[in-house]
Amino acid sequence: MPRQFKEGDTFTHVRECDAYRPIYYAAASGDFNPIHIDKAVGEMAGLGGAILHGMCTMAWAVEAAILYLGDPGKVKRVRVRFSRPVSIGDVITFEGRVTGIEGSRLVAEISAKNQRGEEVLKGATVEGSIA
């Protein structure tokens, strides 16, 4: 039985920004901007300390969609707006909802909120192939 995908399907994913996540993500991505790895620089920039890369938060939103789609190679398009920094200790909850299916292309909107209910991403959408 092939997997069935339908409009209105929902999925959830939770990730915590642990103390070393910005450093690990810096190493993996190559983005060593000091605001991500140096508490003092993050404070100087008015961010209250080192913040996680927006691109890591974006990757977690994509991870949520992969868990739903079942295959990382099926992700075809992803778009996000970074609306609020993610700090060490923040717990981000991703809630996805399939808003459209046209042919073999599925569109899901994903919200990403921290433990205070504040949106860290806006307008996040992932498109996947369900061919």
Partner: protein, 158 residues
């Protein structure tokens, strides 16, 4: 000073990058809550085997390990990084934040792929005392096929 709109159309690149298997693994481990080095133990729980396990991936549709969809940041960022640091644009990097990001993925990325990325500034505008700079990058693989298009938006506070 707002960023001069005369820089719309300025191009950066080409930049060449060869994708390595271990780099693919490290990226997947870091995103999934692990340490980005396979030498430090098992992959993080729940990680899709297509992102790290050669044996499992060989029998799957792609025939090899593939990169996490946003792995493209590692190489496709080059024109954006060059643009925001371009001395002629005069951007204060301390006031810069990454505002928006989009990737369109036309080909899966595999170990050994060689990506050539070029980019150009497509928009410069100001809104609410902030400058917006948009760079669109295109990365082609060794067969000349467009693999990834990235749309990178920087927001610069005044």
């Amino acid at each position: 000073m707002p960023i001069d709109r005369k820089f719309i159309g300025r191009q950066y690149g080409p930049y060449t990058y060869q994708i390595g298997l271990e780099k693919i693994r490290e990226f997947a481990y870091a995103v999934a809550g692990g340490i980005p080095n396979a030498g430090f133990g098992e992959p993080p729980e729940g990680l899709n085997p297509l992102l790290y396990d050669e044996k499992a991936a060989r029998s799957a549709p792609y025939g090899s390990v593939i990169a996490f969809p946003t792995f493209a940041v590692t190489f496709a960022i080059a024109p954006f990084a060059a643009a925001v640091a371009d001395p002629e644009l005069g951007i204060n990097l301390l006031m810069l934040v990454h505002g928006e990001q989009e990737f369109e993925l036309f080909e899966v990325l595999r170990p050994g792929d060689v990506l050539t990325t070029t980019g150009r500034i497509t928009h410069i505008h100001e809104k609410a005392q902030k400058d917006f700079l948009v760079v669109v990058s295109e990365s082609k693989n060794q067969r000349g096929a467009l693999a990834v298009r990235g749309t990178w938006t920087a927001v610069v506070r005044r």
